[in-house]
Symmetry: C2
Subunit: 212 residues, 2 copies
DNA sequence: CTGAAAACTTGCCAAATGGCAAGAATAAAT
DNA sequence: ATTTATTCTTGCCATTTGGCAAGTTTTCAG
């Protein structure tokens, strides 16, 4: 759909395969077809295999990715050496360690692909260049940061005031696909409970749903 | 100190009273005296009285503040109508509801001054203008966002993997001044426990410190 | 200085969550 | 298809945190 007029409107020509990222950009920050084309041209395709890392602890995050297909998670280790899931990614999201990427400093965590996945990425130098040249790209970039911050704050609030079961229920209703792709253990630490507890919570939740 | 050469170096003239904000900017993103001067000129002084609001729920955050003196907190209400402290601010920090400010949308929370306080602020339109004109100001602004995000992530991690006592201890060591200015109840919800529990935790903590 | 309000502590008990270990179910590898 | 590893569930009990209410201390306005 996005590409109907491409052949007669050269400056805005966008390959069909970039439809998903285009939609995402427009949804985040509306702009003209010409602007969109100039932004989206920077993004290059890349595939990750299951278990590949987008970034590893101690290394600088090299990719600012829009994930079109696949599932990923970010994690780190606690004092006791247990993995703690810090983020879960499903399709049509930005996948990136924003701290590491924007400050070009070593990452504190791993981002790993849980399935084979396809992304569109841009490097730091390219992004800097593009931001400098295109105010609307800057605005888009800032909104991604602000939205990430807002979402994290929501999650924080959820940790502060909701019970583990409520957090589970919310994730279940918001993003049920996650549960088909991500092992319980990883979801548990993301929600902030042990896998044992989550197993019980899930049981309770199922029971309550059955009643209603 | 910063102002030694001002009289013979007009473009970089910065009033002495802006020393604190200048230091903060330079620490966040190093730049030349000329650049610093052009950035800092945008910030205007403002005072808040004890209990004044920087922003209220449902209103758009109008100020991007650097707080030079005072203490503030951000809070919202949970389902049961209890206040939940979402942030605590001490001097030499940016105080702003970043979501509301940058998206120019209604705030979800209150930011209230707990003491009389003095800030340097800039409005959204001014900030947009300044960001547009000055790449180094943009970089500074982006770093503020990234750093806020990073700090929130750290706090999130702390919620996920540390006990309430550990979170108390960390705050105690990191920012002890807070405890002289902010009632226990507010700190409790910030840490993610009830005031009753925090009272006990503090007792335990004191006992343990005494031993060591 | 005094009285009211707010903040803080503490005892008692309930609820939520964790830790460990064993067993069941599922997925992955050969 | 069989084996092996991983994931998930569950029972038992310990630990952490919460809720309520009473009592104490501190703060603050008049």
């Amino acid at each position: 759909m996005l590409c109907n007029l491409q052949l007669i409107n050269f400056p805005a020509m966008i390959p069909e395969e970039k439809n998903a990222i285009c939609e995402f950009i427009l949804k985040t920050y509306p702009m003209s077809q010409e602007q969109l084309a100039s932004v989206v041209q920077y993004f290059k395709p890349k595939a990750f295999h299951k278990n590949d890392f987008v970034v590893e602890e101690g290394k600088i995050c090299q990719f600012y990715c829009f994930m079109e297909e696949g599932f990923m998670r970010a994690y780190t280790y606690d004092h006791a050496g247990n993995e703690v899931t810090t983020a879960l990614y499903s399709p049509n999201q930005i996948v990136c360690d924003l701290s590491s990427f924007f400050k070009q400093t070593p990452s504190q965590e791993y981002i790993q692909s849980l399935t084979n996945s396809r992304v569109w990425y841009i490097t730091f130098d390219e992004l800097q260049h593009a931001f400098h040249a295109m105010p609307y790209f800057r605005e888009f970039g800032r909104l991604i940061l602000v939205n990430s911050y807002t979402q994290l704050k929501q999650r924080m609030l959820s940790m502060l005031q909701e019970t583990a079961e409520a957090r589970y229920a919310k994730l279940m209703e918001t993003n049920p696909v996650i549960f088909q792709k991500v092992p319980l253990k990883m979801i548990a630490s993301y929600i902030g409970v042990t896998d044992t507890s989550l197993s019980r919570i899930r049981k309770e939740y199922a029971k309550n749903r059955a009643k209603a």
